[in-house]
Symmetry: C3
Subunit: 498 residues, 3 copies
């Protein structure tokens, strides 16, 4: 205990210099009157020594320089917080450690006593909601928020996960699959989809300040988009707004999306980077403004990033809104082009495990391609969303160009679906001939080829078309692979035919 006292004394001395320099920094940014809560000052006193990286990162954040009362008073289009009002105890101080890590403590199973403060380990979307209510509500409707359940509560997907990940042994020439460990699922699918974080109890850990007790949480580290948190909420805002800067700049850059949306299954980032848009981004984005709200096309940026088309508030120089901000990712999209056997209209509900197709499976189409239309948006909604997206394109492109682009895209999506349908027919023949066993459609060689046809190649061609990245329509998991993989399947199932 004596050791701790000495340590804290030392920290107090040095922290005088720290706060001095902090306010100087803030002064330069123009926000003259920021103040810190007593509790946050306490947090920083220790953590600037024991986890200096996150303190310094936060120190450079907008949170560290802005009190919610100032943030809330901005003109509508410039506002970064959507709450109508902010609790009084939070309004006048910057958004510091304690402000976030102490919210809604009673709902948090991960709440614990930490040097006389009641702290939550995990700040959940439900906590962020205090200021960012609209964003959290929108996000809650998205497929992202339900990304864990969408795998876990869907027996087809669970079978796919279980067939691909996890230990296998071979006995008597047969493959034995005990099923993946929790750990392996966490590292693969759940790394993006999110884990379920549960409280196991408390544990003692040794620190430089002596032993302390902290919550023992399962399935961490994880910042997957559909993480289930110890307060029962779903999602992780830090998936895109990286801790502890939580910046809009980072989220607007394609590197953030690239953490999950990569080839071979969802090559959004790869296609973007080889597109004309990606070229312009790579060549010129150092001159762009990624922290402007609203985001002015032409003035702040000259080519879209992922965020521009998919969720940012975008205006022209007159302040006319081109697209409203929306954290329900997918809500601007009319067709879903990846992750499933066939393309299909976007699902109505973010909880895709609720879908039932004609075969009784929770999939938006049958294996043959028939739509589960009741669960999918209708033609009219599709057209509405396409029209809204075209408005964004037209900030730089002519109406003819834009229409030409989407005509092209529609034709391509249809063709990739037909290629996949051909591969499904071949697979069905393989099952009929006894070359493979239908029971698990995901564990044999010919089935692996079939999965590649849709999960890698069909998807890649559609992405390549959607964002004009020609390598992904051609030789990089594109038509080259759609065709040669199909021929591989064909020649396996009908070896004597040509």
């Amino acid at each position: 205990m004596k050791k701790i006292t000495i340590c804290l004394f030392f920290i107090s001395i040095t922290s005088l210099f720290f706060f001095h320099s902090l306010s100087a920094t803030n002064g330069e940014k123009g926000s003259m009157s920021v103040s810190f809560s007593k509790e946050t000052e306490t947090c920083i006193e220790c953590h600037r020594v024991y986890s200096p990286g996150i303190v310094a990162d936060w120190q450079k954040s907008r949170h560290a320089m802005t009190a919610p009362k100032d943030a809330i008073s901005k003109p509508a289009l410039q506002r970064r917080i959507s709450a109508e009002a902010v609790p009084q105890n939070l309004a006048g101080v910057v958004v510091g450690c304690y402000e976030c890590h102490s919210l809604n403590g009673t709902t948090h199973k991960d709440n614990f006593d930490h040097f006389d403060l009641k702290i939550n380990v995990i700040v959940s979307p439900n906590d962020c909601k205090v200021c960012h209510v609209k964003e959290v509500e929108e996000y809650g409707r998205s497929k992202k928020a339900h990304a864990l359940s969408n795998l876990d509560k869907n027996p087809v997907y669970s079978l796919l996960v279980g067939s691909i990940t996890g230990m296998k042994t071979v006995k008597g020439g047969r493959m034995t699959t005990p099923g993946p460990s929790e750990n392996t699922k966490n590292e693969t699918c759940y790394a993006c989809h999110g884990t379920e974080v549960k409280l196991k109890g408390m544990k003692k850990i040794a620190t430089d300040l002596g032993d302390i007790e902290v919550p023992d949480l399962t399935n961490l580290p994880n910042h997957g988009v559909g993480r289930v948190n110890p307060d029962g909420s779903s999602g992780a805002c830090s998936a895109c707004h990286a801790r502890h800067r939580f910046s809009i700049e980072v989220a607007r850059k394609p590197y953030t999306c690239s953490q999950c949306h990569l080839e071979p299954d969802t090559p959004a980032y790869n296609v973007y980077m080889e597109s004309k848009h990606g070229n312009i981004f790579s060549s010129q984005h150092q001159q762009w403004k990624f922290d402007s709200v609203p985001w002015v096309v032409g003035k702040d940026f000259n080519a879209p990033t992922c965020a521009t088309c998919h969720n940012s508030l975008v205006v022209n120089e007159n302040g006319d809104v081109i697209q409203n901000r929306n954290h329900d990712f997918g809500s601007r999209l009319w067709v879903r082009i990846f992750g499933l056997i066939y393309s299909h209209p976007q699902p109505k509900d973010g909880r895709t495990y609720l879908i039932k197709n004609k075969d009784g499976l929770p999939l938006p189409t049958t294996f043959g391609g028939e739509l589960a239309s009741d669960f999918l948006i209708d033609k009219k909604e599709q057209e509405k969303r396409l029209a809204a997206m075209e408005k964004t394109c037209r900030a730089c492109h002519s109406r003819s160009w834009t229409e030409g682009h989407f005509t092209k895209f529609n034709l391509t999506v249809a063709e990739t679906d037909k290629m996949v349908a051909t591969s499904t027919i071949i697979l069905a023949d393989a099952w009929k001939k006894g070359l493979a066993n239908k029971k698990n459609p995901f564990d044999e060689k010919i089935e692996h080829l079939w999965i590649k046809e849709w999960l890698f190649y069909g998807n890649s061609v559609r992405y390549g078309s959607a964002m004009s990245g020609p390598d992904y329509t051609a030789f990089k998991n594109g038509w080259w692979d759609l065709t040669t993989n199909l021929e591989k399947m064909r020649s396996t199932v009908y070896p004597l035919k040509k």
Copy 2:
């Protein structure tokens, strides 16, 4: 019509502020006396509201800040336009919307009446030629300018395109290939090679200003390097000088080339990025000057980008020319290392479909590897070009280093050709044994392996050698794949041998 009037009134008011701010911006850049043509002012009045992105992009361009009469008066090495004289009506105003989109209207099938101005939809190389005559003439001689015909008028390539891209069905165990749709070709091969843009007629489109009539053009969007334009010209300067900044900076960065020159078929970008040159570029290019003309080695940049070696005007600090600018891409190269079965001397003419080899095919070598020498540059020309390239290398490297590098490269090119020759012998045996059908050499499994041997692996090793990117000579489509793919072919054709 009333709606339009109100709209235009509103626009006029706001545009006062726009032009004010524009001239302020220009003032800062030092060019004090720029003026806009009346027509361009008219264009901008509307388009800054209806396509704000491109207007703002252009506004930041050199075109928006420079009148040709100023550009033409610079010292020779600093000139960015190569015309001896510029038409008087263009000389004194900045290069605006109307200046480019109204040129040579009578030759343009895409010319149309647009709010009382005669406008071309597509600005073609023939239009850019008014100021950039030398560049357009050089480009016209390149393989790039003929990239569409080089596929389309070559029956071998057309068969390859038709075998790989486009819908397939399987009937009775046999693959049926109706041939790719125009759309699919546009999205794959022609996305880089260029499409043929033709006028179908006029079409009415709904705009915020009411219905207007515009040309209905086929096969757009496209900015492939060999695009055939409605004025009969070939090429798209915007393929590399992205609209509407048309900047030299963007074209000099490797991201531009990366749009088409990517793995697995032409991994120029990938190899560059993993090379020492690419490392230095990635680490330091933010401090380089990409808009200097001429481009001073050491002062403006410390490692070459694609443009440095392949087409830029490069000088030393004394102003001695190391390489002259050249838009005939390929004209600095002595050997062609990709896209064909075997490496070969560069073709004499950019129109490679004119080549005839000993088998009567429009290919620079036979399937066995014999050169169609009449159509390829001779030894002397090869040596001349190599010597010129070495001069660029020697701006940073010793003569010994440089010679060592190209000795290494020559040996590697020869070895990859021999590996491909071995694979061709195996394929010929497969045809002889009836394991595959020679008629179409591009549509069966063993043939797909053969294609990979040269189109992916042989190419990758050569690129890896040319630019010192060791992963592409080793494990990433390199010797690992050259060897394991050959063993796959061998064990397929001679299953009982080892």
Copy 3:
């Protein structure tokens, strides 16, 4: 000779301006008193015309602006040179051409008379050691320094190299492998591992100043980490500190490591770039300070690069050391996760060819997975190194987070080893059944699949786990490939089983 005189006269005139501008530049950087040795001035007079790129690059370097006597007088943590004293003739002048290229001339077989100066072509680690003694000594103990011998003196690796790289022919259905040429090895494995540079004699080369004689050196260009130099030393500092800037900035950026540590065999760079750390680096590193010594976490950077965790001196804002600088790469690591059949504790000695496992082979495990423990660090040393690494993590992450991360990692490493063990059992069955020949385990189709299981897929999953890049644990050479490749092997060896 007359030609040379005129040339030199011209150079002398222009160089007046050059030195003037150089000292102005230096002045701005704050180092007022730098002076050049007479010899270096002589070098520059010519080379600024004949190799302007490297002169300009050096001119921007710290070497060109700092005399060792100033560098050595800095406080301990800020020192960039580790020698206790520097020879007097070097102390007072900047570190110029002659200072480096003339050191230890008698040991250099590549030393030659060059315009009346005795010059070494290659500056070796033994030369850099004059100022950077600690770094060179540490490096000398690393696996990197012995990377050439570790391949070359290990018959198993040599067989792998010889089986994969180099020309093959097929005769009578059988593959013939004459073995790779020196050139091919230099371009593939040795490009990263390093070549052996030997003196063949002297050669005459034509230059603009007339014919000159220079050493004729073999196996160049090369800057592999384990290059054997003409002075007998091993290594190339320029592998990471690119010539002639030799900057710490470049070495600290992940692009440098990416030159060799790339997918599919060592996807360190690829995994990093898709991780949260990589995302933050890509999004924000333009605001970081890459040239600070010591490197202050939070202040100078907000997410680690490769160098942070693997070898840089890292401190907190109080100046407390979190990790000491160490150029013995691998010395911070407790487990080796790539390049071999199974993971294993780090070897004790950088010369891995000295290892002998129970089968008498120079491998850290048997083919069955048994450890050659005598040659590997023990549990205690492993724990010590892990604890030190965790200290770096804890600069930003909680103790729980950090422990959770490495628990996850350990489980994953164990599972990938088991998957590989399963594949080895299948391969052994293939050998038993006569489906392949055990004699060379690296040259047949089923053996190639086996190699992929560990060299590509096992490695990728471990890297993906180590740095939290989920695509490399899942679909990109991850569990998808671990599983489907195993099923490919299984169905080949037991075609009738399922």
